[in-house]
Amino acid sequence: MDDSLTGRTFPPTSPYDVTAEGVAAFAAATQTPYSAGDPVPTTFPIVVAFAAMQDLMDDPSVGIELHNVVHGEQRFVYQRPVRVGDRLTAELTVDTLRQIAGTDIIGTSSAVRDAAGDLVCTAKATLAHRSGS
């Protein structure tokens, strides 16, 4: 994989509208009690952060083969809770790129912002990509 990937920031994802239905489905699937008006489940921003990772993997200039990718680490830092009605985007930056024994270790951070452009949370993900297999 190309070292010039380090430091590269990708275009923001398509806006994602946080709906009551979407949050309720996520809460139900994660065994999290939820009523309208409650704070959304902690890991809900992965929905938009995951879209940013998918965009990265779909980018033909990057050269990642999706089926060779393992999600190695995920961390979130929250500026405020996500709310129903938020329109969110995620802008992914490749922070670090290391090669260990034929595996690319890709450190990314995605800035999740609301429609006003204010930071809602930062989602840091490490992706392990086995190349040439």
Binding site: A29, T42, T43, F50, E73
Partner: protein, 136 residues
């Protein structure tokens, strides 16, 4: 909440139908989380839970400890070992424990231990929660 508090253990059952529901709700439709055949074809022992599903259950445990949802200001982990989910209603059981590591400036940090079948499945799982101005 104070330093060295041992938080009450939380247990969660994970079945394959949970993983199907989570795939739909999260958008992560990687078939290794739904298909035995695909999982085995890539060398896994069977269908495994999404790492993010395990992390979501750990986050649920943190909500219980915090006394309310929406208190978490930092959260994350490494996905170090797969959670294999056998077919059937018993599925797999996730066990989540936590210890308070610090309480200062309105924030408590919690180190978690998340296991399945006695094996740690998350690496360095850490949560920071807002504890307001309470000192108890």
């Amino acid at each position: 909440m104070k330093i060295d508090d041992v938080l009450p253990e939380q247990r969660f059952r994970i079945t394959r139908s949970d993983l199907v529901a989570y795939a739909a709700a999260s958008g992560d439709q990687n078939p290794i989380h739904q298909s035995e055949e695909v999982a085995r074809s890539v060398g896994l022992p069977g269908v495994i839970a999404h790492g993010m599903y395990t992390l979501a259950l750990a986050a649920r445990a943190v909500d219980v400890w915090a006394g309310a949802p929406g208190k978490v200001v930092e959260f994350g982990a490494k996905f170090t070992k797969p959670v294999v989910v056998p077919a059937g209603a018993d599925g797999a059981e996730l066990v989540v424990n936590g210890t308070v590591k610090s309480v200062e400036d309105g924030r408590a940090t919690i180190a978690l231990v998340v296991t399945c079948d006695g094996v740690k499945v998350l690496g360095m799982p850490l949560a920071a929660i807002s504890v307001g101005t309470r000192v108890d």
